[in-house]
Assembly symmetry: C2
Homo-oligomer: 139 residues x 2
């Protein structure tokens, strides 16, 4: 049985308001690394009073508390990820899609005196599909 957004918020001692549950639930059911704007547009129809400021507030709160991750692999805007298992991100420079991969264990003795709360691994390049389609003229 999968944990609900509400339970996850409770686990982090965050009051589960309607808005917070909606944002987190969206991330827990869409592992597509959405932007704040994408989340807002997805939730707006069902919560017509929702404000974009609330989406930003919530995403920042969840990121600060470690409930979700903010991903800065895209220079244009932040993306968000509710996955709890360590993983790395690959972004295709052609199609822009972001792929998840298992994260190989990192040995970092050099950082033993550093209190590490977050590790992000970003790979960039071209995905197999775009490599194959290279000969096709893209507009």
């Amino acid at each position: 049985m999968k944990e609900s957004a509400q339970d996850r918020l409770r686990r982090y001692n965050i009051k589960p308001s309607v808005q917070r549950m909606a944002v987190l639930d969206y991330l827990m059911t869409h592992y597509t690394h959405p932007t704040a704007d994408t989340i807002f547009n997805a939730l707006y129809p069902s919560i017509p009073t929702l404000s974009k400021a609330t989406v930003y507030n919530t995403l920042n709160l969840l990121t600060e508390q470690g409930v979700i991750q903010m991903i800065t692999i895209d220079e244009k805007n932040a993306r968000f990820d509710a996955r709890e298992t360590p993983h790395l991100h690959f972004r295709c420079n052609s199609c822009g899609e972001i792929f998840d991969f298992e994260l190989p264990p990192l040995q970092m003795e050099a950082l033993k005196d550093y209190d590490i709360t977050d590790v992000q691994v970003y790979c960039k390049g071209e995905c197999p599909t775009c490599q194959k389609n290279k000969h096709i003229i893209n507009n």
Copy 2:
């Protein structure tokens, strides 16, 4: 004998204009992960006709051509790094400083079909100095 900014530009087949040499030279003599703004302010006194647009143009060109790396560990603004050896970045959430560390080799068989042109590893947390200073009241 260390390679000059001019030679490095030539190595990448980029025309070594005064502005480009100045930007790259700054990065090759200041491994401090500066922002575009920091670079502009540092160069402006000696090149009074320099435009901030040129700094951005140059940084984008150098990043696209793989001469330097753009680092997005700081959510606010991009930082730039001319180091050529693989390394990881640690950002202290208290003092904001960015530290370089040797990058342990990453085994990524899962990505063998992906054409990887860039790998970035970002660690965030608290540096030893800030850990020690925790008891001091910060304003």
